[in-house]
Structures are given as structure tokens and as C-alpha cells.
Amino acid sequence: MSKVTKHKTSGSREPFFKRKTAIGYKTEEKTVLRGYDLSDLAEEGYSLCDAIFVLFQGRIPTDAEEKMLKYEMGEFMEHSMSPSAASAIAVTAGRPNLPAAVAAAVMTFGGAHGPGAAHGYMMNKYLERALEEGKSVEEIAKILVDDYMDHNQPVMGMGQPQHRDGDPRAEPTHLKQEELDLDGIYLKLQRAIEKHFHARRKKEGRSYVPVNCVGAGNTALCDIGFSPNAAWCIGSLVRGYSCAAHAVFTLKKGRAWAASRNEPMVQMLDLSMIKYVGPLDRRVPKLSERQDYAKKQREEGEYKQWVI
């Protein structure tokens, strides 16, 4: 049952803690982002994408850069069922406040799902190395691919488990970047990574693994000036919008708890969805037997196979 909380307001307009910040300030008269009055930015006709450039880079972007970000955010926003949307749906099943479901969705972005920052850091690291070692971008791309593949590490930005023969968003993003004349050093590096990656897999008789949306989208974000973390923030939060839609849909049209037996389709959390592969059911030892039982269990060591 939802609750409405009655609280008095604090009456204080002081910030929760003091910080020097270069991002923005807020007075009784206005809210200012990197020197620009937010209301003036909106009045002047700038877009959310323009404002995101101001937020992370402190500058108004070119038309082409704004178009690129608009494209990237537009294509990355909705991805149907991925860990983020699934989380939003699962959390909503418990009927918390909606922000909890959206926050959970955003928090799924980690080392495997949309690892945008890691891809950006990888590119920066190897570009730096190229500079230090006097290598060309082409040469350092091959070194990067070999470094990762020699150590059986996945090359970030390559492969997507669902879009096995080509993420529908990825290659068009590369083309859009080129069409908008935004192909900078990052796209040059990414294209070279892909070339050497494909060549090596082919040489090893392995299947074709295309570029994914992180490899393409994050490359574009880097070329239009976003840091790895800023790019990651944009990517994961824009997905938050669509996950919010999935959460609202589940809230309004899905069954709470997701386990009802009255639905024509077996629900996500129906008991029959559970497949158990752990230790067999066993007798709970009497508390008086505990010490002997526990020592024997440790000696036998069978439990170790289950330790996670």
C-alpha cells in the first residue's frame, strides 16, 4: 500500500554541505550552469544535448556535435530487454517508488553492460602509449588488439550477445560520425582496432564479431569531447529514460509480485521458474549436535564446491 508522508519542511535553503564547485550555482534569482543561466539557455533555443555539452565541457557545441549527441542518445535510449530494463521491471514487481526501479536500472551499467568508461580509458591509454613510443595510431591499434587477445581478454567495444551479426546501432553510428565530419583520432583508432581484431580472429579461424554500440557510440562521444566518465554517464542515464518507461508499463499494466497463477502466461517469479542445482535437501542438525556436525562438515570439505 502506498504511503503519503507528512513532514514539515526544513525551511532552510542552505546546501547540505559546503563545496567549491565549478559546475553551477543556484540563487533565489536563477540557476546557473557553467556561467549560463539555465532559463536563458532554454529560452534561446538550445537543446538538452547542447546543455549536456555545457555541463560536461563548459562550452556550446557546434551544430554537428549537437547532432551527433542527439543521434547517439536517441539510438542508445531504448534497447528492449537488457540487464537494465530487466532490472527496472523486476524492481517494479515489488511496487516501490518508481525512482527505485530507475535507479536500479542505471546501476546495472557496470563492467559488462555498457562499460563506456572502460572503453574510453582503454583508448586514451593506448593513444598515450602511441605518443610515448612513437607509434602510429594504426600500429598502436594492433598492439592493443594483441595485448588483449594474447591474454584472453575481450576487446572492449566488440561483440554483443544478442546482436550476434552486427549491432544495428553500431556501424551506422560510425557512418554518422563520418557524415558529420566528426571523425577524429578516436574513430581512427577504433576503426583500426576493428580491422586488426577482425583480421586476427579470421586468422585464428574464429567467427566474425562485429563492433558493438559502446565501441561505436563511445568513440563518437570521445571525438566530440566527452571524457570516459562523462560519456558513461550520458550513455547509462539516457538508457534510464527507457527503463523508466518499462518500469511505468510494469507498474500500470503488469502484475505486482510477478508470480500470479491467474495469468495466462507463467510469470517471471512463478515457482516453476526456479531450477535448483545446489546441495540436496538435508536434515537440519540438532543444536546439540552442532559442534560435531560442523567439524565433520569442515573435514569432509564437500561444501567447498558450493562456496561462492
Binding site: 504511503k3 503519503v4 508522508t5 507528512k6 513532514h7 547540505f16 567549491k20 564547485t21 559546475i23 553551477g24 540563487t27 536563477k30 540557476t31 550552469l33 539555465l38 532559463s39 532554454a42 529560452e43 537543446s47 538538452l48 544535448c49 549536456i52 555541463l55 542527439k70 536517441g74 539510438e75 531504448e78 534497447h79 528492449s80 530487454m81 530487466a86 525512482p99 530507475v102 542505471v106 544478442q162 552486427g166 544495428p168 546501432r169 551506422p172 554518422k176 562523462a230 547509462s236 542515464l237 534510464g240 529514460y241 527507457s242 523508466a244 518507461a245 518499462h246 511505468v248 508499463f249 502466461m265 507463467v266 510469470q267 517471471m268 512463478d270 521458474m273 531450477k275 535448483y276 536434515r283
Partner: protein, 340 residues
């Protein structure tokens, strides 16, 4: 494994139990073949190996055609392409939502970042700041919708609906009219922009009537605030209160991503045990010796009460301990007032 049913454990063989616990079946439940197997059911989007499709539109085709993230928000939440004016209006609103200084979402993002988390955890934490006081878009939106429903049904006039709204919610955080923006014109400019773009409809009209009514009823100066302006315009753009709540929260958390980054850049991280709380911030019970265990148990007073008077007296006493939770009064929905 032994005979699982021979064991007697605690109260589990007590005849007062409505079932024979120890003889209940073990093992997982067989797949239910009488119903359709589970699938992710969605009205919003699907994907296959080759395409991602939302509300019938291929997302790559959308962006190649020149649509952007704002358009996709309309598609995801409303299954429609917005007019140019609607797209411009949502852009405008989201720009205003991007930054709010060192308010709660930024504070939560920064505090989370100090633990050396993923950036996404910091941003997620900032979304959690959106409740029923800060950014109460679901609360205000649903109230406006209810008032508008009465107007549309011909039950009351716009003025009467506004008066009822003011009577009922004027002391609530999700009112939409306050003294917060008497010097900041952003909320009024937002409404004016909605009018200029031709997207202001009956919700803006209702909100303007509410503002007028509230100003007449208030002894102190009040005016439309950002919550009220955004809630009304978003409703006129066709977004549900829940959609508005989440769209604004996510936009704000893009801004808090920058706060997360800046916190790490300028302030660094904090280790467990590092943060001290000076005693002069403490006003709880005075320092006291821990009693010997046996004495402590002997003197322990049980919490149970056995009469209504005793319960009430104890309840009131417990309110005196800050942090116990007893001083927080929450209202739950009254099922007798439910409309369905």
C-alpha cells in the same frame, strides 16, 4: 540426507500449526505446461538479432531520419512522434532540470562517489533523492489529473477545482505554488514558453487558476514554482505523472554525474572510519557506563504493552528518542476512499 520427516524441530510439530510442517513436500515445482511459458512481455519495445524497435519504430531508422533523444522519449512513453513544438518544449523543460546546484541529488551523488563506487551507482543514488517532497512530480501530477478529471466531467468549474486543490494541498510539499521562486523567473518563463509554442492546454490553465487562487488565499507572497510549472506543462504534453517523475529524475542525474566526477577530482575518497562526528553535534543520552551483562539483562524493561492507554503512553515516550522513528507520522491510503 537422512529421513527429512523424522526430525522434530522447535515448534514445527506443534498441533496448533494449520499444517503438518515436517511432512510438507520438498523439491522444486515442476514447469507449468498448462500455461504459456514465461516471456518478457512489453508494449514498449522488442529487439531481434538485427533490429531494435520501440513502439513499432526501428530506433536506428529514427535517428538516421533525424529524430533525437527527445523524440524517442515521446515514442517510448506515448507511442507517438511529437510535433516540433512539443519536442522544443520538452527540450526546454529538461534543460531546466539538468542542474539544481548542491541540492539533494548532487549531495547524494557526491557522497556515494566518495566511497569510490562506479559512477553509475552515484547517479543511481541521486535518482533515489526524488521522493514525495523533492521533485514530487508523481504526487502533484496525480492531484492535477484528479482535479482536471472533475472539471472535464463537468462536476466542478475550473475555479472550484482550483479552490479545492488549494484548500487541500496548500501546506504540502507537492503543491506547485510556493515562495521558492519569487525572484527567479524561470517557472513563469516556462509557462510563457508553453503558451508561445502553443502547447499550453487545460493543465496549464488549471495551474494558473490554482496560482491565482493560492495568491488570494495566502497572507505571504507566493507564485508558481518549477514543480508546478513542469507538472502542468508535462501533463499538457501528454506525459503521465509517473513518466514526468522519472524523466525529470533521470535528467537531473545526468547533471549529478558531473557532480560525481567533480567530487572525485577535487575532494577524493573517504575510507571506513575516517569520518568523525564531533561530540558537540550529539544531543542524545549522556555518556554512561555499560552495565555488567547479567545486571543489564536484569534491569532490561520489555517493550510490550498490554492496554491501549499503556501503549499510547509508551508510544509518546518513544517519540522523545530522535532516530527511533516514532515521531514520524505517515498516512496510508484509506481503503474506504478507494475509487475502485
Amino acid at each position: 540426507m537422512g529421513n527429512l520427516n523424522e526430525n522434530r524441530i522447535g515448534n514445527l510439530s506443534d498441533p496448533k500449526l494449520p499444517y503438518d510442517y515436517m511432512n510438507r513436500e520438498h523439491g522444486t515445482v515442476e514447469p507449468d505446461a498448462s500455461r504459456h511459458p514465461f516471456r518478457w512481455v512489453s508494449e514498449i519495445a522488442y529487439k531481434n538479432i538485427h533490429r531494435i524497435v520501440t513502439r513499432g519504430y526501428d530506433t536506428t531508422e529514427l535517428v538516421e531520419e533525424g529524430y533525437g533523444v527527445i523524440d524517442v522519449m515521446f515514442v517510448d512513453f506515448q507511442a507517438r512522434i511529437p510535433t516540433e513544438e512539443e519536442e522544443q518544449m520538452l527540450n526546454y523543460i529538461l534543460i531546466l532540470s539538468l542542474e539544481d546546484g548542491l541540492s539533494m541529488p548532487a549531495a547524494m551523488s557526491r557522497l556515494t562517489a566518495r566511497s569510490k563506487t562506479f559512477l553509475t551507482q552515484a547517479c543511481g543514488a541521486s535518482i533515489l533523492a526524488f521522493g514525495h517532497a523533492y521533485g514530487a512530480y508523481a504526487a502533484i501530477g496525480n492531484r492535477l489529473a484528479e482535479a482536471m478529471g472533475k472539471v472535464q466531467a463537468g462536476e466542478v468549474s475550473m475555479e472550484a477545482a482550483a479552490a479545492e486543490y488549494v484548500r487541500e494541498f496548500s501546506d504540502d510539499e507537492a503543491f506547485g505554488v510556493s515562495d521558492l521562486m519569487l525572484k527567479d523567473p524561470a517557472a513563469k518563463r516556462l509557462l510563457a514558453r508553453a503558451g508561445k509554442l502553443g502547447v499550453a492546454g487545460e493543465n496549464v490553465a488549471l495551474m494558473e487558476t490554482i496560482v491565482k487562487t493560492a495568491q488570494e488565499a495566502s497572507t505571504d507572497p507566493v507564485d508558481i514554482d518549477l514543480l508546478g510549472a513542469i507538472a502542468a506543462v508535462m501533463a499538457d504534453l501528454g506525459f503521465t505523472p509517473e513518466a514526468t517523475w522519472t524523466l525529470i529524475a533521470v535528467t537531473r542525474s545526468i547533471g549529478t554525474g558531473a557532480h560525481c566526477i567533480e567530487e572525485i577530482e577535487r575532494e577524493g575518497h573517504t575510507r571506513l572510519g575516517e569520518t568523525l562526528t564531533p561530540k558537540d553535534l550529539y544531543d542524545g543520552p549522556g555518556d554512561r557506563p555499560v552495565p555488567p551483562f547479567a545486571e543489564g539483562k536484569r534491569q532490561a524493561k520489555p517493550a510490550q504493552t498490554h492496554s491501549l492507554e499503556e501503549w499510547k503512553a509508551e508510544f509518546e515516550r518513544r517519540k522523545e528518542l530522535n532516530g527511533s522513528g516514532y515521531a514520524i507520522e505517515e498516512e496510508i491510503e484509506d481503503p474506504s476512499q478507494a475509487s475502485h
